[in-house]
Amino acid sequence: MIVADRKPIEEIIEYIKDANKVLIVGCNECVTVCEAGGKKEVGVLASALRMYFMNQGKDIKIDEVTLERQCDHEYLEEIRNIIDQYQAVVSLACGVGVQFMSEKYFQTPVFPGVNTCFMGVTEERGVWSERCQGCGQCILATTGGICPVSRCAKRLFNGPCGGSSKGMCEIGGEVPCAWQIIIDRLTALGRLDDYEKLAPIKDWSKERAGGPRKVVREDVRQ
């Protein structure tokens, strides 16, 4: 999933302080799972903002809605009939949702309500960590299912650097060495011979370095 973290309320207050009517839009997908922008978080943020502005003596109406997704036309269309009433929208979706809503409703200011962080997993409730950087050319087949692009600080492709110590990365902060995990996993799979094979040079043009990316599938395109 796409992992996001809550933005400080003070920052959101600053965005919307001049509006009279604001819509807070949540998203039922990834940000709900990482507890940053689902229906519950929309309720908490809206209530906090209402109280803040009421305490300031400002009469700002704050409404709430949570869409199934904000990265697809059909769900964003659900607010087409109401969006014109609002001077500002705070989207609690990831950066993708905020942008798609901005593109679709060009006349309405849309502000981000979360900080979008990475693609990752729920290690346990309240702990999320990165697993994929969307590099566009997956090499997990050769690395025992552990990704050196997202999990090695240096994105090394042919074994660890000198900074791997007792299974941990030298950058600190309890980050495990990705190559230690790769070697452990290849050993467990009885495929340690694969570790000896040199990885070919990666085509980084498929990663973000090649500019904004697009996938076009003519077989499913309408």
Binding site: V44, A48, M51, Y52, N55
Partner: protein, 117 residues
């Protein structure tokens, strides 16, 4: 026992304090409550293992948010006592009422009335 405690308190029953969410606490203030306290079982005695521990964290988060929006986090508090502690329940009700009285009414209640007028 027929103990008396202040009649300004409105009791909202929940199956476990683990059911209490941050938004429930916030909405009570939005609707004009002057204070909210959550009464859970003793820590370690939760029938559902972690219900009261979850509530404790949520109360802490609600306090943080209420401080941020200017209502004052000290208006929310969590207490842990067993169901056999009737006198302590009455005592807490009295203490909390006095504490909130000293803090004065919920600041947004007045402003809300002014805006409506």
């Amino acid at each position: 026992m027929r103990l008396r405690y202040p009649d300004t308190i409105r009791i909202v029953r929940v199956p476990c304090t683990g059911k209490v969410d941050i938004v429930h606490i916030l909405r009570s203030f939005e609707k004009g409550a002057d204070g909210v306290y959550v009464v859970g079982c003793m820590e370690g005695d939760c029938r559902y293992n972690r219900g009261n521990l979850r509530a404790r964290k949520r109360v802490a988060e609600a306090r943080r948010i209420l401080d941020l929006v200017g209502i004052g986090g000290e208006r929310v508090q969590m207490f842990n006592l067993s169901s056999a502690e009737g006198p302590r329940f009455a005592q807490i009700a009295l203490e909390m009422t006095e504490k909130i009285r000293a803090l004065g009414p919920n600041p947004i209640k007045e402003k809300k009335n002014k805006m409506a007028a």
